[in-house]
């Protein structure tokens, strides 16, 4: 390992020409550095450029601008079969005319491995994904979860530096998906290989990743640990995309070193002591973001900083939590209350039309640039 980074994308652009002749940038000046041994996820909705980025690392697509580095080496037009990365495909892409054994052995044959060695390594790979004894089956005779494991084994048997996974669990049902998430994560930790994982499922990304790149419209919105991107989203898109957020339009009244006073015109309230993270100026129009679970419901007449009155418009009981929808002078605010106590008596829940007080605790609030 010559480089600190297993994979690096430097200012990568990928443009496609649509059938109508328009040029679109699927990946738009993306830079990211993926460390050795890291579980790195690219998260975003379809069309955000995550799969195209992965395909450029694999070598199925070439960059229009910029460069992909693997272990510090620029890849240029290196074909996939000369890159020390392997891919687990969304569709698994198992060779239907070959048995499980032949599928896994394929990559080793290409390396020119001897028959004994192939047998041994395929055996170990099957053991790793708990499919010993399935050697002679055809892919169609396996369940979705088993096919998925074969796809993982086929890629891992090559002992790549980096394993690329393109929504590998997308076709599985929820329960199996959760099992496989933990299994893949365990496998990654056990092998110490760098995993680059593409998914549109934020829970999946949060569960498995060391770091996540949130992408949208071909651009990286934020790169950070799961905690960072949830608790300190760098812009409104990330705050909205990851989990849920209430957004309040406001204006910065005054600024100190690391706190701001923000005036919310719609509520005619000033929020005080809100931590700021980036270069904001006084008088700037901003967005205040707060997560539903971080708002406290109090008496309607409580005396508190960052307090305002609201009316309950709906409550939804969903087991672990109750979602309380409130409205205050036309601004809709969602609050999430944990159901700490077991109770059947719904009369103690908030009722529609009830007046309550909402407290936005400043340390749980974020000021984000508008846009």
């Amino acid at each position: 390992m010559t480089s600190e980074f297993a994979v690096e994308l430097r200012d990568v652009v990928k443009r496609f020409v649509t059938p109508e002749g328009n040029e679109i940038a699927a990946v738009d000046h993306v830079t990211m550095q993926i460390k050795n041994g890291e579980f790195f996820s690219m998260l975003g909705s379809s069309g955000c450029g995550k799969t195209t980025s992965l395909r450029m690392i694999a070598g199925f697509e070439w960059t229009t601008e910029g460069e992909v580095y693997i272990e510090g080496n620029p890849m240029g037009h290196t074909p996939p079969f000369q890159r020390k990365v392997n891919t687990v495909f969304q569709s698994y892409a198992l060779f239907q005319h070959m048995t499980v054994f032949q599928n896994i052995a394929f990559g080793l044959e290409m390396e020119g491995a001897k028959e004994d060695e192939i047998k041994q390594r395929v055996g170990r790979a099957l053991e790793m994904v708990q499919l010993t004894g399935m050697e002679r089956r055809k892919p169609k005779q396996l369940s979705g979860g088993q096919q998925q494991r074969v796809a993982v084994a086929r890629a891992l048997v090559k002992t790549p530096d980096v394993l690329l996974l393109d929504e590998p669990l997308g076709a599985l049902d929820l329960k199996l998906r959760k099992e496989m998430q933990l299994e893949l994560k365990a496998l990654q930790q056990q092998l110490g290989i760098t995993f680059i994982y593409v998914t549109h499922d934020q829970e999946e990304a949060l569960t498995m990743s060391d770091r996540i790149a949130v992408m949208s419209n071909g651009r990286v919105q934020q790169i950070g640990t799961p905690v960072e991107i949830y608790e300190r989203p760098s812009n409104k898109f990330v705050a909205d995309f990851i989990g849920e957020s209430n957004f309040l339009d406001g204006q910065i009244k005054s600024l100190s070193k690391d706190e701001a006073q923000v005036f919310i015109p719609a509520l005619n309230t000033e929020l005080r002591g809100i931590p700021i993270s980036q270069g904001l100026v006084k008088g700037e129009d901003v967005v205040v973001s707060i997560r539903p679970e971080k708002i406290r419901i109090t008496e309607k007449n409580a005396k508190n900083d960052n307090f305002f009155k609201a009316k309950v418009t709906n409550t939804v009981y969903i087991g672990a939590d109750t979602h309380v929808y409130t409205e205050s002078q036309g601004v809709k605010i969602k609050v999430l209350e944990q159901n700490h106590i077991s109770r059947l008596d719904t009369s103690s829940f908030y009722t529609v039309g009830q007046e309550v007080g909402l407290v936005l605790m400043p340390e749980n609030t974020l000021v984000l640039k508008k846009v």
Partner: protein
């Protein structure tokens, strides 16, 4: 239960379809056992075996081959045997060549974007929809022009002169079979996921190995059905062969046509029966192979 299943309309139309499709074949096969030389009325089977052929007027009373008299007669007919040999030779060579070219064209059209791609695609349909006789005349005109020019330019004489024959029939068959193969293989490729090839390359296979080990085995059923279609097209082609054949390259359809213009003997029926038998066997074998493949996977 499907209400249409027992409707008289369905039953009647089914019976009619079967009569129209298969009655001619049944009659044809039946007449190949006819005892009469005149192939107009059925006078019953040739009843007995004997050392020599015994005739009573135009009726065969007995023959060394018994009811199979016309088949034996046929096998002694040198012209038929040579026509059969020509037909098979042309069909085999033309099938192999057109399958290779057609498959390559299908893959190119599926995989690559290039200038005039939609024109190339469209030009594939032209030979299929154009009347065969027009194509026959076209090929004839082209070949005779080219051969004429070569013969005069290089002052060829005698055996060296280029003339119509097995070669011209074969290349004209290849020319009209390629589009059929391409379309059949293309249909198969339509459902072919590119990620299979990407997976192979990802695992270290170069382009050629990927084709040999992954792409080709996966599209093989399509290639085989394209080849089979091409083979049957070549076997029974009359129109184009009529224009492009020459001395010594008579094929079975041409020969039968010539025979019919003179006299209609049950030999023609015997020939057709053998032909049908061969085609049925091939189709049956293919079905068995395909259903085995399916039950395996």
């Amino acid at each position: 239960m499907n209400p249409f299943k027992r409707s008289p309309f369905v039953i009647i139309s089914t019976v009619l379809v079967y009569i129209f499709l298969y009655a001619p074949i049944v009659v044809l096969v039946l007449y190949s056992f006819n005892s009469s030389r005149v192939n107009i009325t059925f006078e019953g089977f040739i009843p007995t075996f004997s050392e020599r052929v015994v005739m009573d007027g135009s009726t065969v009373v007995s023959s060394p081959c018994g009811p199979f008299h016309w088949f034996c007669d046929l096998s002694k007919n040198r012209e038929v045997m040579s026509a059969a040999k020509n037909t098979l030779t042309i069909a085999f060579i033309a099938t192999i060549v057109s399958t290779i070219i057609g498959t390559m064209a299908a893959i190119a059209l599926q995989r690559y974007d290039f200038r005039l791609k939609s024109f190339s695609q469209l030009s594939l349909y032209v030979p299929i929809v154009i009347p065969e006789i027009v194509m026959g005349i076209g090929i004839l005109t082209l070949i005779s022009q080219v051969f004429g020019w070569v013969n005069t330019t290089f002052a060829l004489s005698g055996d060296a002169r280029l003339s119509m024959g097995l070669f011209t029939v074969t290349i004209s068959h290849i020319a009209f079979m390629v589009p059929f193969v391409t379309l059949v293989v293309q249909a198969r490729l339509q459902g072919f996921d590119k990620s299979f090839e990407e997976a192979a390359m990802d695992l270290g296979a170069n382009e050629w190995t990927t084709f040999r080990r992954v792409t080709f085995p996966m599209i093989l059923p399509g290639v085989l059905s394209g080849a089979l279609l091409a083979f049957t097209l070549s076997l029974d082609d009359f129109v184009i062969t009529f224009f492009t054949n020459g001395p010594g390259s008579t094929t079975l359809p041409i020969y039968v046509y010539g025979l019919l213009r003179r006299i209609i003997t049950p030999q023609v029926n015997a020939l057709s029966t053998v032909w049908i038998l061969i085609v049925f066997t091939v189709v049956l074998l293919l079905q068995i192979v395909q259903s085995r493949e399916q039950s395996k996977s």
